[in-house]
């Protein structure tokens, strides 16, 4: 029988010099399907060297650095050129990236250029009888599909927070190589003039282990404060329902639902959210859901593991205090 092992390429997702968790999760997925083949991580940007150890500890056999300064900040055209050359060098059977601002922007362009299929936003990856099967949500998680490739390279973007990363094995090391990619300045057709960081403090919503989310019941922008305090204490992020965004209590970047973000944290605390079907689509696959709502008939209770019927402005600060106490006890 032919060896079934596969060479897998993972594009590391680096934001402001930090390796994102989804890259470690992608390495875990890569090992699952490689079946003894080589797992290569590609890292773009001048500080890639600093990330080699971490990638090796989490499963990369080989790290390919493209150390151009032009890749320190993501732009589609620069990443596209580097990614394409990496693929031509590695000749992978499988490619994984995160389903993040970077992965979902550059991957479809690469797929189009190389005539490849692409399965986006996968929540699970498995190897069955030598075939790679990819599970992904449709209708924002109201249903799921299992997909496979008819032919060509298997190419997928993986949703953060779904495929567990491997424990770091500090005994592992990786072969390191640099790839020289020439990026002509005039080939870059979009120019970033400025960046305003809103999400700089705190945890990224799509990768957060804990999400504290507010709905119309939060009543004002000010009303999100107690939610933020609870989220900060638990190392989580704040989200919102469409109602809260439409009412201008918060930015649309926080919206969770079928329009907006889909999140699957370990703990989702819904505060003053009624639970419209379009919101449930964005959060009902969270591992544990807590609902806090004045209305005992609120639909959110139908998906909640634990519910408290009460005023969020009373319950949330009490919850924060109680967590503080318990966490201090260790």
């Amino acid at each position: 029988m032919e060896p079934m092992s596969k060479n897998v390429l993972v594009l590391a997702d680096v934001r402001e010099g930090e390796l994102r968790n989804v890259s470690l999760e992608s390495l875990a997925a890569a090992i699952k399907v490689a079946d003894g083949g080589t797992v290569t991580a590609a890292v773009f940007g001048s500080k890639g060297k600093d990330l080699v150890e971490k990638l090796a500890h989490h499963g990369a056999d080989r790290v390919l650095l493209v150390p151009n300064e032009q890749l320190d900040t993501y732009t589609t055209d620069a990443y596209f050129q580097a990614f394409k050359q990496v693929i031509e060098k590695v000749e992978p059977d499988v490619i994984f990236t995160g389903h993040t601002a970077i992965g979902r922007d550059v991957s479809p362009r690469i797929a189009a250029r190389l005539n490849l299929g692409l399965v986006s936003d996968c929540t699970d990856v498995e190897l069955k009888d030598g075939k790679i099967l990819l599970t992904r949500p449709i209708y924002a998680g109201k249903a799921f599909v299992k997909k496979a490739f008819r032919d060509g390279i298997v190419f997928a973007t993986l949703r953060p927070n779904n495929i567990p990363a491997l424990e770091a094995d500090t005994g592992r090391s990786a072969e390191v190589e640099e790839l020289d990619v020439q990026i002509a300045p005039d080939s870059l057709r979009t120019l970033i003039k400025d960046v305003v960081r809103k999400a700089s403090e705190g945890v990224d919503l799509s990768e957060a282990r804990v999400v504290v989310s507010g709905g119309r019941g939060v009543k004002s922008a000010e009303g999100f404060k107690p939610l933020q305090e609870l989220a900060d204490l638990l190392g989580g992020a704040v989200g919102a329902s469409r109602g809260a965004c439409d009412a201008d209590y918060c930015d649309y970047a926080l919206q969770i639902g079928q329009t907006g973000k889909v999140v699957t944290p370990d703990l989702y605390i819904a505060c003053g959210i009624s639970g419209a079907i379009q919101h449930l689509a964005g959060m009902s696959n969270s591992k544990v859901i807590v609902a806090i709502n004045k209305d005992p008939e609120a639909n959110i209770f139908s998906v909640a593991d634990y519910g408290i019927v009460g005023d969020l402005f009373e319950v949330v600060p009490m919850l924060t205090e109680e967590f503080k106490k318990v966490l201090a006890e260790g």
């Binding site: 362009r109 299929g117 692409l118 999400a199 329009t259 209770f301």
Partner: protein, 256 residues
């Protein structure tokens, strides 16, 4: 300015999903313009009103998808093109992007808009793929768009951060929520839309090799997520409920 909008007709986001014979049932389902594409339609109309020109809305889909084009024309788009061909049943994002590229290669355009993703498949692929096939740049998830001569300035949402990006026409941009508030079609708009030109095409009308349109990926199975069992509503004094909740989260659910 010639403005193209690629849109998809999708289930209304209020719809529940029912699976029948392994497929998603369309029985009694309300269809709408994909909400992200609706932002693109609105932005296209505003661009046209500011700079002059024409808005053409394009879709690939079954006959019912015509209604989405009519709605876009009732909002103010000038004409529509639908590609409807039963050979597209095994299509995936690879195939759809190629069909759209074949339609658009024959058109004059300065800018192409679409939603950054559709609320049904949620793949976020067709926009960037199409731009690559047409050999033009793209900027995804934009929340503001200004065109001045050949210069394009956008604000792009990057997971909560905002990037201010400059580029040039021709370009493809994909809409993020927050780009605008789409208008409702007016009654006169709806009446006018009925008389606006709508071109129907199938694959024979396009310069594409049908064998090259088969999807690269296939769907093996569609399934619903496991139903959640009803949870536990706590009772007693509020203070005790809060204590119990924290205890449960730590010791039963073990998430804290």
């Amino acid at each position: 300015m010639n403005i193209l909008v690629c849109l998809k007709q999708t289930f209304d986001t209020e719809e529940r999903i029912v699976i029948e014979d392994g497929q998603i049932s369309e029985d009694g389902v309300e269809f709408v313009i994909n909400p992200y594409d609706e932002y693109a339609v609105e932005e296209a109309i505003r661009l046209r009103d500011e700079h002059g020109g024409e808005v053409t809305v394009i879709t690939v889909g079954p006959e019912r998808a015509e209604q989405a084009l009519r709605t876009a024309m009732a909002m103010g788009a000038d004409k529509g093109i639908i590609v409807d061909d039963e050979d597209l049943e095994s299509a995936d994002e690879y195939s759809i992007a190629r069909v759209l590229a074949a339609v658009i290669e024959d058109l004059d355009y300065d800018i192409i808009l679409s939603g950054y993703m559709a609320v049904d498949d949620g793949s976020a692929q067709v926009g960037p793929r199409l731009a690559e096939l047409l050999g033009i740049p793209h900027i995804s998830t934009i929340t503001k768009l200004t065109v001045d001569g050949e210069t394009v300035e956008v604000e792009k949402d990057v997971e909560g951060d905002t990037e201010y990006i400059q580029s040039k026409l021709p370009i493809l941009v994909t809409a993020q929520q927050g780009l605008n508030d789409p208008r409702y079609p007016s009654l006169p708009g709806i009446m006018k839309a009925k008389k606006k030109p709508l071109e129907r095409m199938d694959l024979d009308d396009l310069d594409v090799d049908e064998d090259e349109l088969e999807g690269k990926t296939e769907t093996l199975e569609i399934f619903l997520p496991p139903e959640k069992e009803a949870g536990k509503i706590l009772d007693g004094e509020l203070e005790d409920q809060v204590k119990e909740l924290v205890h449960l989260l730590r010791n039963e659910a073990k998430v804290i």
